[in-house]
Every structure is written in structure tokens, then in C-alpha cells.
Subunit: 206 residues, 2 copies
């Protein structure tokens, strides 16, 4: 399989509470793309309305630890007693098939992927300002005060890590943010380092 | 003036006959951008319908040579007896004002700009195939056989230079090509190296 036919791995990440999940959902609702979502696995209990296998694969801590031992994750992270991870198995096959695979993961996990997958595209979702993010964390209301406090502290620590990403997309308005991600994906495909293979093929076909 | 407020210099270029001008026109007809076109200067006679100051500044060879002597061009090139160049004067002021300045220039000139303006964005417009380009050159019909032949040979020499650009945009359909350029501009603004200043400002404002 030639380099140019391999799909893009797109990593959407950002501080806790920035609305990564909402942006990712909006992205998948948009037309004119061919994206595949890689569902994460977690040991945290489902929030109301979350569906197993769609929002997350919800598993027990025992099962998660077993999978870590068997090196079944592309990345994983632990946060306030819960594990979050990206199962390896399907991703590589999907990329080989030329599909665009989207991960929506924590900052800690994204930095692990950065080390492993050199040609992935890393997008940091940023809040329009700090207040918006803290308001969001408070409003979520599904978590106890300590969890909220932990998330706020985590977000503070994650703010400066934006510079490790390829792109910063401000989540001022969800559809705008999703739209910018679509633009980034299109631009990435037009990048010379990716497009040159196809281009050369075209010239040789003559 | 801060780095983040400076506008982008966008260089649209590509082989002779690829339809750079048509793509550039389509780009400017699109909505939702804030682009400024930097009109080139040439010593070649206007083609039918071309307007002085809009399509090109049409000047005499003497005037052009005088301007070269006075270092008034960002780039210039000579081709089949005619000169083409980008007047320096306005561009820098427009970039300082935060405007996005678009140049539509020959490959030879684009490579000169590449040397001088490190953070410009270079887009190579490619034909969907060689035949399309040659057909286009023949159909233009405003030039004598020798000129057409020179242009074809020039295009052949320019094909391999695509790898010196940041992006390759295939001109399969003019509106598609223009649309891809808009996506590239949006993505370039979201690039961490550009967006980080604004992002840091946002965090400090707090």
C-alpha cells in the first residue's frame, strides 16, 4: 500500500471541560467528509444518555488493567480514579484502508500518541476564555465538588501544553470549531508532503 | 505591532496554462474571506478584456527596467520577451495592517519570494493531468505557435518544482480549487505557531 492512500489520524484533544465531545459530535454531523470515530474505552460510569460502544466502551477496572498488560492501547490515561484509553486493534486497519480516523482524547493521552504516530494531526481545542471553561465544568453538574475541582486544576495544567499541538481551534461556537477542523483536514490533504505522491503518479500516467 | 496581527502572504502559483488566474478570480468571488489581491506588473500587451490596474499594471519595458534598478519588486521574471513582477510598495503596508495579501505569480517568481518571505504560504496549482494543461494552452488561442510551444516547455520544466511549495491544489474544477485554498487559509490561521500568541493573550487576560 502506498503512502498517499493511507488515511489520516486526527487527534482532537484539549483541557478538561472545553467541549471536545460536543465539537467531535458536531464534526460528525457535518456533510462532505469521510471520518471514522475511534470510540475510547473507560472505567468511569456512563453519564446520563451515554451509550456503550458509541460514546465509550464502558469496562471494569479489572478488564482495563488486563488490556494495559496486553499492550492493547494506543494511549491511556488515569484521572481521578478512572482510566481512559484508545484500543489499538481497529485503528491501524482503518488507516490502512485509507479511512480518516478521529480520536477524541485527553491531553495526557494525546502526547503519548504524538510520540508514537509521527504523521498524525494534533488539534488542541481551546476555550474562548478561562471563565467559559470553568462555567462549563460547574454547569455539567454530574460530578461532585472534588471532581470539579480536580478537573479545573487539570485544565490549568493543560493550558500551556497547547504549543505541543499542530493546530489550536477555539471553541467559541461549536459549529465554527467543527468547521475549522474540516478546513484543517482538507488543508492537510493538500499539504505537499502528502499530495506529492498522487501528483507524481498523475504526471507519470501521462 | 505583534506577530499574530500581521496578515498572511498567500502565493498562488503553478505551471503556465494551469488556470492560476481563473482560480484566483473564483477565490475572490467567494464569501467569508478578507483577501486583498496584489496586482502584478507586466510589459506584455493586455489580452482582450484585461483591465489596467486590475488584471495587471501594464507598463513599458523601459519603466519596468527602471523599477528593477530601483529594487521596487518583491520578485520579477522574464518570459518570452515579457517581464512580470510584483511591486513591493503596498504589500508590506497591507500585511502590517493585518490584511491577507494574495499574489498570483509565475513559478520562477514564487521561488524568489520563498527566499525572501519565510512565513508566506505557497500554493502550487496543478492540472488534473498534462493533457488538460496542454489543451488549455492551445485553446487560449491568443498567442502564436512559438509562444504556445515555449509555454508548454516551460510548464514541463515547472512540473517537478511542486515539491518546493507548501500545498498542491489540483485545479480539477475551479470552484473546488478555490474552496481548497480557503480551507488552507483557515487552517494556516489555526496553526499553533500562529494561533499561540492569541491563545496566550487570552489566557493572560483572564
Amino acid at each position: 500500500m502506498k503512502l498517499n492512500q493511507r488515511g489520516l489520524l486526527i487527534v482532537i484533544s484539549g483541557p478538561s471541560g472545553v467541549g471536545k465531545g460536543t465539537v467531535r459530535e458536531a464534526l460528525f454531523e457535518m456533510e462532505g467528509h469521510d471520518l471514522v470515530y475511534s470510540t475510547s474505552m473507560t472505567t468511569r460510569p456512563p453519564r446520563e444518555g451515554e451509550i456503550d460502544g458509541k460514546d465509550y466502551y464502558f469496562v471494569s477496572k479489572e478488564e482495563f488493567l488486563e488490556r494495559i498488560k496486553n499492550d492493547q492501547f494506543l494511549e491511556y490515561a488515569e484521572f481521578v480514579g478512572n482510566y481512559y484509553g484508545t484500543p489499538k486493534d481497529k485503528i491501524d486497519a482503518q488507516l490502512e484502508q485509507g479511512k480518516e480516523v478521529v480520536l477524541e482524547i485527553e491531553v495526557q493521552g494525546a502526547l503519548q500518541v504524538r510520540e508514537k504516530v509521527k504523521d498524525a494531526v494534533f488539534i488542541f481545542i481551546a476555550p474562548p476564555n478561562k471563565e467559559a471553561l470553568f462555567r462549563r465544568l460547574l454547569r455539567r453538574g454530574t460530578e461532585d465538588p472534588e471532581t470539579i475541582d480536580s478537573r479545573m486544576k487539570k485544565a490549568e495544567r493543560e493550558f500551556p501544553l497547547a504549543h505541543k499541538y499542530d493546530y489550536i481551534v477555539v471553541n467559541d461556537e461549536v459549529m465554527n470549531a467543527a468547521d475549522r477542523i474540516i478546513a484543517i483536514i482538507r488543508a492537510e490533504h493538500a499539504k505537499t508532503e502528502r499530495a506529492i505522491y498522487k501528483y507524481r503518479e498523475m504526471l507519470e500516467v501521462d
